[in-house]
Symmetry: C2
Subunit: 318 residues, 2 copies
């Protein structure tokens, strides 16, 4: 910077201004400095800047220990966040614990509990944006789980289904109750009673989906089955095959997630696509906005998932 200043015949302060607030430098001076900067291939020293501005340009991503980084959901999320932050020249790292020797400018959390959310806000004095939020007084970006489930069930009903089973992921989290409510509301809007015998609760695994589907098929006369994940739906398809039910003609099966796996089965699964990558990008964008303009009012961004019609769902066979 000193070299640039010397070569351009100005002080370092003016060079600094060209970088940070170019509009207050006379155009002529500014151009001369810019020219010298590119000639000398000037690269700013972020550390020096950080020392005085207290900005690190580093973001920490909190992902709770019990989510494996290799699960598709986490990977899409991470890829999206990575893309969104990288293009804005912020670097980041993933934290799984509370301890960390270095500071950051902002935090993104994925699926942490309300308690953890408050702890983070309290412990770190930097902006926080949530994905899978539990509390309202934070910035967050989320997927509209209610709407996704509602649309799927509406679609099934429109195809003539009235006996519609539901396999619920048995986790005590917001997205689960949102999806249940979407299911209920769609039934209610169409005058179909909600029967608890059509509901099963399952750990989010293929083989649990398999078992629960067998139980449902033995107990009820459902013509369509809505699973809260594609993984569960995969198990459901396998179970239907075992029970000699043709999918989709004897039993329509729908899933949730749409992260790519759904297209590989035969039949491909009709699902609610969660744009997790895009959510990651949005989280990055919102956090950068908040970091660079702290006074922005609370940002809440709900992203509507997309119904993806495939071959696992068909008209009801009356």
């Amino acid at each position: 910077m000193k070299e640039v200043a010397q070569a351009a015949g100005v002080s370092t302060i003016t060079v600094s201004r060209v970088i940070n607030t170019p509009e207050i430098v006379k155009e002529e001076t500014r151009n001369r400095i810019l020219k010298v900067m590119s000639e000398l291939q000037y690269q700013g020293n972020q550390a020096a800047k950080a020392l005085v501005t207290k900005k690190t340009r580093v973001v920490h991503i909190f992902i709770s220990q019990n989510i494996k980084l290799t699960n598709p959901f986490a990977m899409h999320f991470l890829a999206g966040v990575s893309d969104g932050l990288s293009e804005r020249h912020y670097s980041f790292l993933v934290r799984r614990e509370w301890d960390h020797p270095y500071k950051c400018d902002g935090i993104i959390t994925m699926s942490v509990t309300a308690d953890q959310e408050n702890l983070i806000k309290e412990k770190f004095d930097v902006p926080v944006v949530l994905f899978g939020h539990s509390l309202p007084n934070y910035d967050w970006v989320d997927v509209d789980n209610y709407q996704g489930a509602y649309e799927m069930v509406q679609y099934l009903i429109a195809l003539g289904h009235r006996d519609i089973g539901l396999i619920v992921i048995n986790e005590n989290r917001q997205f689960v109750s949102d999806r249940i409510n979407g299911y209920k509301q769609a039934l209610s809007d169409n005058g179909i009673p909600f029967l608890s015998e059509r509901i099963e609760f399952a750990e989010n695994k293929e083989d649990v989906g398999y078992i629960k589907t067998i139980e449902l098929l033995e107990r009820t006369t459902i013509t369509a089955l809505f699973c809260m994940s594609d993984e569960l739906a995969l198990g459901a398809i396998r179970a239907a095959r075992l029970m000699k039910k043709n999918v989709p003609h004897d039993l329509s099966i729908a899933g949730f997630d749409g992260l790519g796996y759904e297209r590989l089965t035969d039949p491909a699964i009709t699902t609610v696509h969660q744009p997790v990558y895009q959510v990651g990008q949005e989280l990055a964008k919102v956090l950068v906005e908040r970091m660079e303009q702290p006074d922005t009012p609370l940002i809440h961004k709900m992203i509507t998932p997309e119904l993806r019609k495939n071959k696992s769902v068909f008209k009801a066979n009356h």
Copy 2:
């Protein structure tokens, strides 16, 4: 730091030593300072440290523009790198272009060409570790593509197959020729002639795998087909079904990658699992080693992929 020094009755220099070279501080003094540090919840200022040590603790990942971040290979890679760097308290970002306003301590590249590798080495004066390397005089971590292909073809031959087709990804890259060589060597070691009519070249897409498999089945009498990716293998399975060939009884189909998709088809695909996540972790480890100990001799780490036997391959049906 000044506060800590004052409270412990020493100079800041000694505090600095406790952090960086604790062994040269008298034990008594050291313990006193450590106690004060934890009492005062001292958090070092990385920016100040960076300013004087010229270390940013930021790594840049170069991924060429034509690889989408949402493809499973890239996502596993990124997740692994993320894990490896994060646990060592390095942050990172993904670069897709040459321009960038900030400096970094080290670079990891994924699948860039020899020209780009040299350009990076020349342009940036920091350690570089390669994945999918083209040049020998760099640190790299890689998957042994030759060995993976060799083992798969050996396995097919052991099951009695002699007419083994191959669908090659038509990209001019090292991993492609390595896999072709593995295929050739396995044939040759078993006295089976290499026939070019059993080879097809294909863009790495499901529907191209589908088309090329049909051509192979019309032209040859293969009993097994080795595809250079699971995506191609998916297309191959679909083609076999069209041609009324039972998989695996009439035609065994094998793939490459093993990133999760292979288990969702019916039958699940026998494949060569590339541990891309683990490769990512290794890359991070090697780079950190290199950054922290620049004099380490060149590091070349070849990771052997794993043959995963599933239902898409069976004994030859003579």
